[in-house]
């Protein structure tokens, strides 16, 4: 399919460095003139993807198209894109003017034209009169401006920005965000921006691509991403949120924190387990308890500048984060209301752990290269391929990795109001999901045990 509104298309891009898969089958397109941001935690593959577009490295699989033309095998210096590098990479042996003119001189642009264009971009980045300065004598913010000028002076079709503001302090970063947005409007070219800062992404972008572990989690406008996150990773990564286990009772009725709430979502089915996201500013908190949907007791209250951030224990045993302009003292009994439109219901990615396994004998089963004892069974013969299901709360984590059947590392954690939902990555690279009330930190090394009675063997359906 060829669409002339698309300036860039990524098609099934995969890339590994050694054993580690950095990008896993990435496909999306970028519209002409768009400000698109690749957003994700460090190591999610966003910078690698940008570098592939710039021509630094080749994808293992897939192709990249610019204006409908496959550029996967075209070397970096022939691509119609320019990059603003994270550490600027200004040439220390050249002054500001020569740095900016570098690309134009290579293209053999006439000297007077170079002069005109360099002065124009210098004005655009408010660096007039800095032509003769040594780049190493400039401040971080000024170097940043020169780096942008050096890229845009070549009039690329697409400007790539690799965390360009990461090295600046907060105030300067805010100012530069406004200027970048303005520059994008004036130039009318496509910007592809990489950042791990969700606020920056929300401020600047027309479209955000949220990435994690080499996969796209969600693509959408900033408001889409913020108001309707598609999974708990996006909800947790973008802004503050309460992520809770819930059950879709029927269309437009969802149950969580022990109450039923009207909502606007439908089509999930009846009595289906779901994840529910409620933003802290969307929970209305008040003094009196009559007329409230549910009630709770304030646990803590912190002043955050614009608002107060409160943690409230509901009477059903959940902890919720609430942001409000009014402060409620700790120990205060409060009433809470959530409006239907403020409840975001998400399909659960999984409701229990499911592993591929092989029967060893009537009371042993092998998965993750390890043999586990299970309840005696005679339904399956030795050597048969089966699936093993283990409930999240039945996986036991222990402090000493060497004492577990498996060992691994806490990879990701999510607070669900009354418990933590952890993703544990085993040493062999498998994922196990665990619900626990114990407090673990990201990166903790743990042992993993599963009791024989909690291993449920089911038939392979394929």
């Amino acid at each position: 399919m060829k669409n002339k509104d698309y300036i860039i298309e990524f098609r099934n891009i995969s890339k590994s460095f050694g054993e580690k898969c950095i990008l896993d089958d990435i496909s999306f397109y970028v519209k002409k003139g768009e400000f698109i941001t690749l957003l994700g935690p460090s190591g999610c593959g966003k910078t690698t993807l940008l570098r592939l577009l710039g021509g630094f490295g080749n994808p293992d699989k897939g192709e990249i198209l610019i204006n409908g033309e496959n550029i996967t095998d075209i070397p970096a210096h022939q691509r119609p894109v320019n990059t603003v590098f994270q550490r600027y990479a200004l040439f220390p042996h050249l002054d500001v003017y020569e740095n900016i003119a570098f690309g134009l001189k290579l293209q053999k642009v006439p000297t007077d034209e170079i002069d005109k264009r360099v002065r124009k971009v210098l004005k655009m980045v408010s660096m007039t009169d800095y032509e003769d300065r040594d780049v190493e004598s400039l401040s971080g913010g000024q170097q940043q401006r020169v780096a942008i000028a050096r890229a845009i002076v070549n009039q690329p079709k697409v400007l790539l920005l690799d965390e360009p503001l990461a090295a600046l302090d907060l105030k300067m970063r805010k100012d530069m965000q406004i200027e970048l947005k303005e520059m994008h409007r004036k130039l009318g070219i496509t910007f592809i921006y990489v950042t791990h800062d969700q606020e920056e992404a929300l401020t600047l972008s027309d479209t955000i691509v949220v990435m994690n572990e080499g996969k796209i989690q969600q693509i959408g406008t900033p408001t889409d991403i913020y108001n309707e996150p598609q999974n708990s990773f996006v909800a947790d990564f973008i802004g503050e949120s309460n992520i809770l286990n819930g059950k879709m009772v029927r269309d437009k009725l969802v149950e969580f924190v022990g109450h039923e709430f009207e909502c606007v979502d439908e089509g999930f089915g009846e009595n289906v387990d779901v994840d529910v996201v409620v933003r802290p500013e969307d929970i209305y908190i008040m003094n009196r308890t009559e007329g409230a949907q549910f009630t709770g007791k304030v646990k803590s209250c912190t002043f955050k500048g614009v608002h107060y951030e409160m943690f409230v224990d509901t009477e059903s045993g959940y902890e919720l984060m609430i942001q409000d302009y009014n402060a409620f003292e700790p120990e205060a009994e409060v009433g809470l209301i959530i409006r239907p439109a403020d409840i975001q219901v998400m399909k659960k990615e999984r409701t229990c752990n499911t592993f591929e396994a092989e029967i060893v004998d009537e009371n042993h089963v092998k998965f993750f290269d390890e043999t586990f004892e299970c309840k005696p069974q005679d339904k399956f013969a030795a050597g048969e391929k089966v699936k093993v299901e283990v409930k999240f709360q039945k996986v036991e984590l222990i402090d000493h990795p060497e004492e577990g059947m498996l060992s691994g590392e806490v990879h990701f954690l999510l607070y669900k109001g009354d418990h933590y939902h952890l993703t544990v990555k085993t040493d062999e690279g498998y994922h196990i999901w665990v619900d626990t009330n114990d407090i673990w930190d990201k990166g903790d090394l743990v042992g993993i045990n599963i009791a024989p009675k909690d291993i449920k063997i089911v038939k392979c359906d394929d």
């Binding site: 970096a76 210096h77 550490r87 990479a89 570098f102 890229a151």
Partner: protein, 255 residues
């Protein structure tokens, strides 16, 4: 004098005894005749002596040629060593640097012996080969060091701005490695311009270098003339090192 600055005293004494004093003595001797009277005679003698001037010019020529060959051979070698795609092991670097571990005199003697076995006529050619062989590691090492430490993003930025690999090399990598080249030039040029042992062994004393003349004069107790010649050479070396200091400032002192 504070307690800590007194730690510098042994070094100060060393500098005075073995650097400052000999230099002063060379100056004093250079401007004296045999009976201790002040004179410019030693210098006028040198500038009128066609043989001495010729040897001086030949020394400069050999030193410049050696340095040039060392850059031509050493830069690509350093570039390959610093390129992780081409050179995956640290062993190759050690192999290149290893000749520096062996005494230069022994290497020179061995080289001379090798030419003898191969039946190569000793002369200017063998002198140059020997000099390059002796001093090449001193050119490779500083260039390798600077290329190895060079931020890869400069090359990427240049490619991003449309430079072909060749242009990246000439317009970014070479200028940025100038401090390494200059260090290499200093480390090769200075000893080659003043050497005498290498020419003695590798040309069988057929070719005399400036160092040889100084040595001969001093050996035959012509202290004053020898000192004057030494001073001329010091000035030449001094000029070369001035070149380095200026260049350093231009490039922002990145060594």
């Amino acid at each position: 004098m504070t307690k800590r600055s007194s730690w510098a005293l042994p070094y100060a004494i060393f500098l005075v005894l073995f650097v400052a004093l000999p230099l002063i003595l060379i100056m004093v001797y250079a401007f004296q005749d045999g009976s201790g009277n002040f004179t410019f005679g030693n210098f006028t003698k040198f500038f009128k002596d066609a043989d001495a001037i010729g040897t001086f010019a030949l020394s400069l020529e050999v030193a410049i040629e050696t340095t040039a060959v060392c850059i031509l051979l050493g830069y690509p070698a350093a570039w390959i060593l610093a390129n992780r795609k081409l050179n995956k092991s640290a062993v190759t670097i050690v192999l290149f640097i290893m000749p520096m571990w062996i005494n230069a005199l022994m290497r020179t003697l061995a080289t001379a012996e090798l030419f003898h076995v191969l039946g190569v006529q000793l002369g200017k050619g063998t002198l140059l080969i020997g000099m390059v062989y002796d001093y090449l590691p001193f050119m490779i090492y500083p260039i390798y060091n600077i290329l190895n430490k060079m931020d890869k993003s400069y090359a990427e930025a240049a490619r991003d701005l449309g430079a072909t690999p060749w242009q990246v090399f000439w317009k970014v990598q070479v200028p940025l490695s100038m401090p390494g080249i200059i260090s290499g030039v200093m480390m090769v040029f200075m000893p080659t311009v003043s050497t005498f042992a290498i020419s003695e062994f590798l040309t069988n004393n057929k070719i005399k270098l400036f160092g040889t003349i100084i040595q001969e004069n001093i050996n035959s107790s012509m202290w004053n003339y020898g000192a004057a010649l030494s001073l001329v050479m010091l000035v030449i070396i001094g000029i070369t090192s001035l070149l380095q200091d200026n260049k350093k400032e231009v490039s922002g002192g990145t060594v």
